[in-house]
Symmetry: C2
Subunit: 212 residues, 2 copies
DNA sequence: TAGATTGTTAATCGATTAACAATC
DNA sequence: TAGATTGTTAATCGATTAACAATC
């Protein structure tokens, strides 16, 4: 029904949200697109265009109320509703995630952790106990989580994703180096650390070339 | 001197590299832009345009030799040269990184790990001992690392980055939630896990709207 | 040679920036 | 009211796709 918002805009939303959160914590009440643009290093035009994809949140001659806009972006992102999430694979990255990430602040509620390794099953992580992956089906049926964080080895990533899909999970945060097969009714965010390293490597190499 | 390649193209390079690596391990010798485009879910035109930013790696009527192209992209990315990297901050994420990431394959060589926490200093991680952050200056002077992985708390991220900059480090892989101040002679890759979570949250919320 | 597929130019599409009337 | 700044339309810019001549 609604005209869908371009992915370029979506990618910038969390960054706006972060900056506004910072302004808020600094006690700044209002901000103009011009000042925000200077802080963020983008154009004021882009900020106004981006925000107007979702509605008019500002006021002519005044700018934007920081607290209000912060709240509105939270609503746009869907952070006001906490989706249930499970973590599949307690590797180092999976483990690190549970410790570092404030899921609650980013729209999620971690409700279950799974692994196949007997050494890990039973471990306490945060306020949760690592469960046997064999129990995941009944768990999902009972709890109906929306999202799964995939932190399993590359070789089994697609198989696990398919199993979870069949159990009803249609959203993935994918840390595995595998590329998940695309499906129309599934949303995925990939975090490929290796790709980031390679891009950085490229940038360093380019810079060095220029200097020589 | 060279016309610089657009960042849209750069972003795709690691993905090409991954796909080619996979083809290589499958024993596939040659591939046309058409077939690769189908596998990757992009257009053949885009693949040819992207590659031709760097040179003509294919052959009319034949396509691309997988092994050759794989090697060429590695060169473009700079993976053939191993830049020395240090890890600053042995939080969970920092620790996880050292275990999971095959730095060698992505252009880097991890040569030092630093923290300020006495409990962590002296720990053995991989083949390295965690050193006191106080010693980092002399270490950098001796080893001349190119890149630093910043895995420190948000509050000190910019301060640490500035210190490292003054010691000569001009490339950062930033895991901290802070946004590093931009400098002309510094290259940065940011990994903001929180942003990925929020984007996923947005996508889930949008999907749910459509279904209602 | 005929067929296939590249490299490259031209056409299209989308995203960003600029401009300005509306309005607080 | 005058000044500031938005929301929005128009202009520009860049990236993607299509087309095709070159060539293996």
């Amino acid at each position: 029904m609604e005209k869908s918002v371009s992915s370029s805009v979506i990618k910038r939303l969390p960054r706006y949200y972060r900056y506004l959160g910072e302004l808020l914590s600094l006690g700044i009440e209002r901000i103009s697109s011009k000042e925000l643009s200077q802080r963020m290093g983008i154009t004021a035009s882009q900020i106004r265009q981006d925000l107007n994809c979702f509605g008019g949140f500002g006021q002519q001659g005044y700018g934007y109320n920081v607290e209000y806009l912060y709240g509105e972006i939270a609503k746009i992102l869907g952070l006001d509703f906490k989706y249930k999430a499970i973590l599949v694979g307690v590797g180092n990255i999976g483990h690190a995630l549970t410790q570092n990430t404030n899921f609650e602040k980013r729209g999620f509620n971690l409700v279950g952790i799974f692994d196949t390794d007997p050494q890990k099953i039973g471990m306490k992580i945060q306020n949760l106990t690592v469960l046997d992956y064999k129990e995941i089906k009944s768990f999902i049926e009972a709890e109906c989580p929306t999202m799964a964080i995939l932190s399993v080895p590359r070789a089994v990533a697609n198989q696990v994703a398919n199993e979870l899909y069949d159990m009803g999970i249609k959203a993935f945060l994918n840390f595995s180096y595998a590329e998940l097969a695309k499906r129309d009714d599934v949303v995925v965010e990939n975090i490929h650390l290796g790709d980031s390293l390679m891009r950085l490597c490229y940038k360093i190499s380019e810079k060095n070339k220029d200097e020589v």
